[in-house]
Structure formats: structure tokens, C-alpha cells
């Protein structure tokens, strides 16, 4: 067990707390999701729903492999991986994106007779890609706000 003794003076404690805040900010700054990451995830999510709508599910595996590669590349490139803290944004993403994904497939099937399977699949793919990209922008903003809140008394 570690030795728990020698309490520092208040000034030392304040200095230590400042050092902690600086390192937490540095860690979170490194973990800010890059813009290419949000764009890649949006494109791949769009491709996934478009392939489902076009009834080409046999290609899903390639999209999922690309998704894994993007996730691994992100952590390799930044050298850090963030703790997954359940946030309101994650909740919203799950609540919005899951029904949207299946809803868009149904919509594409309904419109495929009118505009053709290809165009219907492409349209729903674009809609989901925009939704995912928008959420990624919100996540980025939330992340930057979290870094700004460290030390201001409203941080975690």
C-alpha cells in the first residue's frame, strides 16, 4: 500500500491542482475528434444505409471493416483514446440515429418505384451522412467546451 503522509502546504496543493488541470486539458485537447473523423464516419454511415436500401447487404462487411480501420487509425494517429463517458449527446445520437437508419431504409423502398432504387438509396445515404456529420460537429463543440470548462468550476 502506498505511504499516505506528508501533507503539502496550501500553496503546494494549489500548484499541484494547476498542474493537474494543465495536464487534463492537454489530454483532452489531444483527444478532440478531428474533422476528417466526423466526415469519414458520416460517409461510411451513409454508405451503410444506402447499401441496405439498395439491398446490397453483402457489402456491409467492407463498410464495417472500414469503420473499424477509421477508429483504429484515429487512436493511432492521436496517441490517445478517450474514456467513453455517457453524455446527453450519446443518448441523443442513439435515440435519433437508430430509428433514422431503419426509417430511411423504409423510405427508400417506398420511393424506389418512383425515382429508382439507385437514386432512392443515394438520397437516404446522403440524409444519414448529413445527420451523422452534424452530430460529429456537435460532439466536437461539446468536447472543446469541456476543455474550456476545466478550471472554471463547471468542469467534471
Amino acid at each position: 500500500m502506498p505511504d499516505r503522509a506528508e501533507q503539502p502546504a496550501a500553496d503546494d496543493a494549489r500548484e499541484a491542482l494547476d498542474s493537474i488541470q494543465a495536464m487534463e486539458k492537454a489530454a483532452l485537447s489531444r483527444g478532440i475528434p478531428p474533422q476528417w473523423f466526423g466526415a469519414s464516419m458520416a460517409l461510411l454511415a451513409g454508405a451503410l444505409v444506402a447499401l441496405s436500401a439498395a439491398d446490397h447487404r453483402e457489402y456491409h462487411v467492407y463498410v464495417l471493416l472500414l469503420l473499424s480501420a477509421v477508429l483504429v487509425h484515429r487512436s493511432q494517429k492521436t496517441g490517445v483514446s478517450l474514456r467513453q463517458i455517457p453524455t446527453k449527446l450519446v443518448g441523443i445520437a442513439i435515440i435519433v440515429l437508430t430509428p433514422l437508419f431503419f426509417g430511411l431504409i423504409v423510405v427508400a423502398q417506398l420511393f424506389s418505384n418512383a425515382i429508382g432504387t439507385f437514386w432512392a438509396a443515394l438520397a437516404v445515404g446522403i440524409v444519414l451522412a448529413i445527420a451523422v456529420y452534424t452530430l460529429s460537429l456537435f460532439e466536437r463543440r461539446w468536447h472543446i467546451a469541456r476543455i474550456g470548462s476545466i478550471g472554471s468550476g463547471s468542469g467534471e
Binding site: P2, Q7, A16, I20, A27, R30, V80
Partner: protein, 98 residues
């Protein structure tokens, strides 16, 4: 004077910085930690070993493009000890005479 949350293993400046950097993360690469702390490999290794011996940190090796990379993360015991340590530091700042 003994204090419940104060931890001398964590409180050493470099080890405090290591724990603070790892706290919001799932894991970080050794190279990144070295850059952030601006210390040599041997100094960082020494501090990581001390934290590892206390059960506060664990390491994971991975190979990417034929090069070995080391990833470091806080254990749950390390996370708890760090949180308690930070609480104790805050208490010392707020109530220095206690």
C-alpha cells in the same frame, strides 16, 4: 500528519502529471506521455514502473507497421486513488489550517 486521501506515490510532480493526463483517457501512448511531460524515456519508465508497482497503472503492448508501441492506462484503483488525492488537495487549498 496522516491524511486519508493524500497519496505520496501520486503526489510526486511527474507521477501527478502522468495520472492527471491519463485521468480523462482510456489509454495513452508512451510516446505521447513523454512529449507532454518533456522527460526522457528512462525517467518516464521509472515513474510508470513505480505507479505500476502500486497497482495504479497498467501497460499494453501493440505492434503497428512492425513497430512496437506501448499504451498506458490508469487502473480502477489508480483512478480512485487519483480522485481521492485531488479531493484532498482541494480540501487543503480551501481549509489550509485543518
Amino acid at each position: 500528519m496522516k491524511r486519508k486521501g493524500f497519496d505520496t506515490i501520486i503526489h510526486a510532480p511527474n507521477r501527478l502529471q502522468i495520472c492527471a493526463f491519463l485521468a480523462p483517457l482510456q489509454e495513452a501512448e508512451f510516446k505521447v506521455l513523454r512529449q507532454e511531460l518533456d522527460v526522457s524515456d528512462s525517467v518516464l519508465s521509472k515513474h510508470i514502473r513505480q505507479l505500476e508497482e502500486a497497482g495504479y497503472i497498467e501497460q499494453r503492448k501493440s505492434t503497428v507497421d512492425g513497430r512496437q508501441r506501448t499504451w498506458v492506462s490508469l487502473t480502477s484503483a489508480g483512478r480512485t486513488a487519483f480522485v481521492q488525492h485531488v479531493e484532498e488537495l482541494k480540501r487543503l487549498v480551501l481549509f489550509p489550517s485543518e
